[in-house]
Symmetry: C2
Subunit: 470 residues, 2 copies
């Protein structure tokens, strides 16, 4: 960015401290944490209010300068990467919790509030904000909204989209749409907030939101269950739903190899079962009732599943501390994988009943393509959402393995498509999947997306090139 | 419709039986059930498949003929009224349940399936489809989707929008968008289905949907609670949530006058309490656990509320039959009102905590405007959604009273607006509220709605004139 006049104007609008240009200052905004992308933008602006966001957007709109909104920069698909000539609009100074209404069960937060802070504020008011995911300590609400974030509580509470009552958005021409309503029902026209949620910043900058709060679970019980195969895991899930209904709030699938990686590389990880088993399910029940007999229910579910041959072994958490170790094990998988060389990843969803068939076909396909590849598929079985990752064969050349990523992605995604699935269940499109999404979706859908982009951002300045080509 | 060539073409596309032109055949499609609107269209088409819908829309698009989609014709806002020169596209032959996947907890239905049939199909598979509202015996799923229907289960399950996994839509040019996905997570671009849900047929014709199913509640307990005033009702709701959390699934508010109207005019209505009281709450707990101790929980909630002076009297349903009589009482209010002369109605929502203040101000305003008007505000307290209706003073002239409807609406809606509320919580916009919505919403929001309408239906043939002026 060599446009000195623009810089002067930005400084005039939001102050010199809020306009970053030094390489060291820019660094954390340019580097994508997985290492797949590196931005080349020369300026980061950090507006401190909605009015400042609006002023910056208006200035850029007048000059046709592309704006890349950025939250915690924890995305997986290059959605927050900015090219030279574009500016990064960081939300990290929009950190006010504007209101918490415990009686009304809602909280109004600015886009830059870190997810864990929203969770903590809710808990302090004896409420639950249910969105929960690995990056919760650093991802920001604006990013969660813009990517329609998922995570481990979707089975019961839905994705981020389902947790929103109202939005405040700076539109691509710099005007502010104040849609910060705290209403449970409102049918006064098109539900505009839905357009901005999940749009990855391509239609405007979300600056604040009214989010739903929920009664806090007062009872919880979890089991780590060894199962012979994914089909047994799906059947176990079905039995749990039949016996415990809506109390089934967590169903995570893990293969043995994922456990091995976590045990090998991540401190504090414990395998609570005596023998190794091919597959595991972390099954959790919860209830807002204080004295719900969930542990007994879990025992009953597991006893019936054992009789039916669906379960090899299981342990029910005897304490809150032990329950946390189960989740630590689950959450350590990503870190464990990172120490086992290159990893080719997929974030797919299929209807839950098709997960076993998907795993069988996809595993066979990638093992045929790369003999010795170590397949480590894990994730949110209850949503049909599997992170189908494969690590390089032991001792293989990392670069050569990673060089086959696109080919492997294609093979796996062909199987997903044939099963009516999604090639981006929770991580979004960004740059990484834009062209593949365009190839795989019906042309009519891409056309509708383009028409919406054109209708809301006719000048194409909002997060240019992301999600859908202009 | 005197265009004989068009009629011939329609008949060629979908058969003579499916193109209605006789006055007697047209009648049920032209008359709005509340008597506020009467259509003047000369033709109703009843396509029997998505392909036939597409063929009809394509034909009309080519000739610039307006299409008014119509489901059960149970709407409240004139959204399905068609003028001369337009055609009504009735969904009442699109009645297939295409698939029910109990394991995957979803059902695929065509737009013309009656809501009660979806509920029954779910129940037969030991599942719940939670949408529940007065017209459920005759309203159709396409209408529920197009109006984002609400009702009595929103507190726990959300509005119709929250119950949808996928849609099939015939676009305004006659092409079919097949978005019938059965995925719990899918972030591969803008979530197009959100645009069509709640659009009241102005952006395309929804022909089928994949809907979520849920575990069926196995325990339920309900109480009819007499409370001194709406503030006590809100406080009781708060206490119930504090004690029973997510088990609180129904919270309906009723004034004594509503009970009197129901008792006077509707067979089978019983007042289970010995004395009359100023206000009532129908409070229901439910759980998917088979043996949840909900009646005890309800007793405990009521005992604490009694101590706190929030409750005057209460009765807990001793049987399923008695529980049904509580709901019969609640549902009889609308019918009861109809026998008490003219009724000026409002379908408003405010944040839950503001319901008492709203009721106080709005009641004072309308009683000052029309002395003797009988205010009967009832509805979904848990959602902040009140049907603020007033009946004419006893013995007053009906026409004179109804003639003041617009003025009264304006007074009440001014109070709603001042409280950050919605002037159409669950019934939608249609013709009835289009111009008032345009006046009251921020101009930027109406502009965004127009841009979306223009982007998806540039020729303006889909349900012309509804929701937002072109």
């Amino acid at each position: 960015m060599n446009d000195a006049a623009l810089i002067d104007q930005l400084i005039a609008l939001i102050g010199p401290q809020a306009v970053l240009r030094d390489a060291a200052d820019l660094e954390p905004y340019l580097q994508e944490w997985r290492g797949n992308y590196r931005g080349t933008a020369g300026v980061v602006v950090r507006p401190g209010s909605t009015a400042e966001v609006a002023a910056v957007v208006k200035l850029c709109a007048g000059r046709g300068i592309g704006i890349v909104p950025q939250g915690g920069n924890t995305g997986m698909v290059g959605g927050a990467v900015a090219e030279a000539g574009q500016i990064i609009l960081a939300t990290d100074r929009l950190t006010a919790i504007r209101e918490l209404d415990a009686e009304g069960d809602h909280i109004t937060v600015e886009a830059g509030v870190v997810l864990a802070q929203v969770q903590a504020a809710a808990e302090a008011a004896d409420r639950l904000f249910p969105l929960s995911l690995g990056a919760e300590g650093s991802c920001r609400i604006g990013g969660n909204l813009s990517t329609n974030a998922g995570g481990t509580a979707v089975l019961r509470y839905g994705s981020m989209r389902n947790l929103v009552l109202g939005l405040e958005v700076v539109l691509p021409d710099g005007r502010v749409w104040d849609g910060l309503r705290a209403l449970r029902k409102d049918n006064t026209g098109y539900d505009l907030k839905q357009i901005f949620i999940g749009a990855e910043g391509t239609l405007g900058v979300i600056t604040a939101a009214v989010l739903k709060l929920f009664p806090r679970p007062r009872s919880v019980a979890a089991a780590l269950v060894a199962v012979p195969d994914p089909a047994a895991a799906v059947a176990l899930f079905g039995r749990a739903r039949a016996e415990a209904g809506g109390a089934v709030t967590g169903v995570e699938l893990m293969p043995r190899l994922a456990i091995d990686f976590a045990l090998r590389h991540v401190p504090g990880v414990i395998d609570p079962l005596a023998e190794p088993h091919p597959w595991y399910v972390l099954l959790e029940l919860s209830s807002t009732a204080a004295d719900a007999p969930l542990a007994q229910q879990l025992e009953s579910i597991l006893a019936h599943a054992l009789e039916a041959g669906l379960v090899d072994d299981a342990v029910i958490a005897a304490s809150e501390a032990q329950r946390r170790t189960f989740w630590h094990l689950r959450e350590a998988i990503v870190e464990g994988q990172r120490h086992e060389g290159g990893s080719i990843k997929h974030d797919i969803a299929v209807p839950v009943a098709r997960v076993p068939a998907f795993l069988e076909r996809a595993t066979a396909a990638v093992e045929a393509a790369i003999p010795g590849a170590r397949v480590v598929p894990f994730g949110h079985l209850g949503d049909g959402n599997i992170h189908f990752n494969l690590n390089q064969p032991e001792g293989a050349d990392r670069a050569a393995f990673m060089g086959r990523g696109a080919e492997i992605n294609h093979r796996v995604h062909d199987i997903v498509a044939a099963m009516g699935g999604s090639i981006s269940a929770e991580h979004g499109v960004g740059l990484l999947k834009r062209d593949e999404v365009a190839e795989r979706k019906p042309a009519i859908e891409i056309e509708l997306m383009r028409r919406i982009k054109q209708a809301i951002d006719p000048a194409g300045i909002m997060n240019p090139g992301k999600v859908v080509r202009a």
